[in-house]
Symmetry: D2
Subunit: 308 residues, 4 copies
């Protein structure tokens, strides 16, 4: 499989990890949801991300997920989340994943990093352990990691570590970060791919500011594909029309903790996975919340029909 | 002026604090924005909240803001944010505010609190310093304070401290917290007022689950009033229609840091304040962001006309 | 090997994990340091603790460490640190360790927990995954984890989860926590073992207040053994004499980050391990710091001789 | 009174703020403890620091403390802690303090700062608000503030903001920070004064590495004076002898939260203040802890006599 490059664009869906109701891994549903994402127009997939319940898996299960998705992905690039408290474990899983055909690995900074120097040093060490032939996606998600990467530091990371080919952008607020990055590139810094996260909640603006697409999840990944496509082609009004129709659900799914329960509920309802179960510890979608989601789905359906 | 009680309902707008371009307090604009909020249908006002740039004011300026808004508020209740690292300062400003006619004070927990026992003890001490005749709004906003209040602890606070008459609810996710609170009240716990924050981003669901309204800010406070009113009367579909029309802007305004710049930009554009300036340190709305906001405003206007 | 019980007492040394200068695991040194700890009078050992560089090991290396130390420990109880972001991985390594003869497992709460309810729920789930026959050491170390466990919550954990047989006490400040725990036990709560951490910096006071000993590391573990023994037998003055002689080094070793470099330097100097190397990322002891440690060692030696 | 300069050296004692048992400010004791500090050999005083219970005072009380101590300080420099969430309040209190004769102000970074750029920008703004004629002490205390300042960033702050004349050094671990700072100065960076905090727990090493003394508190400030003096003159062994005699109490006083209770207990016992009371919320020294302190005091007394 081809390696991830700084030319990557479009939508890489952050895949859920399906479980059966008893908490065991559901590999059949993993196949099914892989097909579902690809048929929705995904340009790639990312497994074992934060919304993939990665920390809940054993090492062996992680390997199964990686193998299974790569085998099913019809040659589309698969990025593997390898964030880990320790570099030896991170390196081991990264090398295994690359050997199996992964396109690259995604690394979020550990929660204990604070200063620019600490963060820079961490990525230096991680890249050193991995070797320069492993493409790295830098996940910039301070709401989850508490680690903040300034515009200046981001520039230093890009300048110094060429194997960082992509930014998974979910700083919050972060629109100006995209603009500043693209400006710096116009002035000579090497261009990297920027795919946006945060459930897509700022996707129209992000693509308009120069992002190459999305790397996130949502119960309706076809929205991410359409909005990215329309906004990339400059049709920002139509992109925003589509986006606005889905926005009430995007917003609802963005609730921390509950969000994954909503996403899995929708995916199960749409037949992409057999069960909405999360492995423990995981939030449940209670009856009230289900009713709220169902109401939003009905309204979304109606609004999409109005839009044509 | 009447004291705040557990019967309070409707919309208490979190007032911005207007500044001139040179950073000095703009008391004329403070009058104007007070009128603006009231004409939008506000049932009350809250000054010196987090989005009121309270920590940027000197003690003397804070007193000016309190006096001015109470004098202008046409008898509507004015809640004063008094969160402070120390109880002596908190008590001093609270007693001054109450003497000037405030309806109550709002207290967020200091960032260093962690355990249930620490949080409970803090509110015990704060209420002890204030005296039982000062109505207290408990601000539950973990995204900003990092302090998390569990359902169980919230119950203990309500049980033990009768002067807590209102919850400013902006836990995230927090829909189930409202439902659990209302369930506990049905089983015998005393009922308190629940007004919701977070820029109103879950307002339809919150009111449908039993919240009494909103205590938050937005460039279009009339939306908060209409949605609260419609949802309270059970017309959740119409409430959501109105809400959805404003949601793209609500979402945009919810970006931390940038949000207040958006809100002040809109308020200045609508003539409610003379300048969108924030006192330093404060985010600026650059040209790109202004264009994004303008685009959202045009779309919002169009959508509201479609809805009639 | 016998399981850990609430009767455990004495000193369980937190073992370092020796590496060669090239960063590879040094199993011969692991044998040697195991012998060293036991000959210093250790009543048990704890492997893969925070100061054992656990997160830097791969899964396979962790297994090697566990096996090797248990095989070498002459039947003394070996506790295995299994803290992990996910319960499946935690359970897998715990079951493997117990099958190999570990006496119990040690679990620190994940950094994202805040409320009493979250912490209680986490330990409920962890114990549920492990099964009731796996003895658990609760590591209470807020300086490292940011998770604070109140006296009240500690009581609830002990009451509800009988397999928690030991508290690794390193709350800071935490002397009163020991006293309150022992008081509650006098009033009827089941008694658990309390071994103290924090590099032993409060050991005389801790044992005098009812702790059963220490579970921590230090370049001179014989100090931990002597102080625990003397203080347990009521000879607090002699215990403190010994302690005070080592205190300048204890203090120096307690520096976060640098501390492990000091400890390994001393252990290498004493011949207990071949190299002071840490696996990356790890602090180095530079020439200035080495000179400071050497000066403290000379003074310590002199003072011990004075004491006789 | 003379302004603070980068030549400052010796011991600036962080003054406690005395309260009566009823929680009211005890200005007579404030006079007495000021005399006590000066008679112990203090070269300066710092009021309204973290251990001065500054956030518990009202604005009016803070002014009283500043005036009273400056009037009593016999012309010795008085630094005023002015850390505050907002720059307007910080500026107001700073200008008032300087007008009353303060030698300079001390500013710790607000807890919400993370990136190098944010921290740099904050100090730029603060210095801008203050004006260049107000000498600033930069308090670098990450254990309390959670803000980490790297060696590199510290250099940028010193380079860019000449009014930062002193570093209150209490990074932890931070010995290498002093050495790196002094090395950079040898290579041409302007020299600033470095006074160390952390209760003096690393004072011998700090002075030996180039610190100019201490800015911290302790029940026996004469120890800080003697150790600084001896170590500055190169008599590190005698400095460490004195230090080691006090170290068991230094260690005990260093417990977060409890530490101030210990310090005030000792100061009250020594007659420097009338009551050990802290204003609420504040830790109490219970009977067990008092007995521990008394035991340490007896041993300290004996050891000092042995040393002669």
């Amino acid at each position: 499989m081809a390696l991830l490059t700084d030319k990557a664009r479009g939508v890489f869906v952050i895949s859920v990890t399906p479980f059966k109701d008893d908490g065991s891994l559901d590999l059949d549903s993993l196949d099914r949801v892989t097909d579902f994402y690809l048929s929705a127009g995904a340009d790639g997939l990312t497994v074992l991300g934060m919304m993939g319940e990665a920390p809940k898996l054993t090492g062996g299960e992680s390997r199964q997920v990686i193998q299974r998705v790569i085998a099913r992905a019809q040659g589309k690039p698969v990025v593997v989340g390898v964030s880990s408290p320790g570099l030896a474990a991170l390196t081991e899983v990264s090398h295994e994943a690359m050997a199996q055909g992964a396109a690259g690995v995604m690394i979020a900074p550990p929660m204990n990093l604070r200063t620019d120097a600490q963060i820079l040093n961490y990525y230096r060490q991680a890249c050193g352990f991995l070797g320069t032939d492993v493409p790295v996606v830098l996940q910039d998600f301070p709401l989850a990691t508490t680690v903040q990467i300034s515009d200046e530091l981001l520039g230093r990371l890009i300048d110094e570590l060429p194997q960082i080919v992509m930014l998974k952008h979910e700083d919050w607020p972060g629109l100006s970060k995209i603009s500043k990055l693209r400006e710096a590139e116009k002035k000579g810094r090497r261009r990297i791919s920027v795919l946006c996260g945060n459930g897509g909640v700022f996707l129209p603006e992000e693509v308009a500011r120069g992002a190459d697409g999305a790397m996130t999840g949502f119960g309706f990944p076809e929205m991410l594909v359409q909005v990215t496509d329309l906004a990339s082609r400059g049709d920002i009004e139509r992109a925003q029309d589509i986006f606005d129709a889905y926005l009430p659900l995007v917003r609802y799914e963005q609730q921390p903790g509950v969000g994954l329960a909503v996403r899995k509920y929708v995916l199960a309802k749409r037949g992409a996975i057999a069960s909405a179960a999360q492995r423990q510890p995981g939030a449940q979608l209670d009856a009230l919340a289900q009713a709220e989601v169902e109401r939003l789905l009905r309204r979304q359906d109606k609004r999409l029909k109005e839009l044509g």
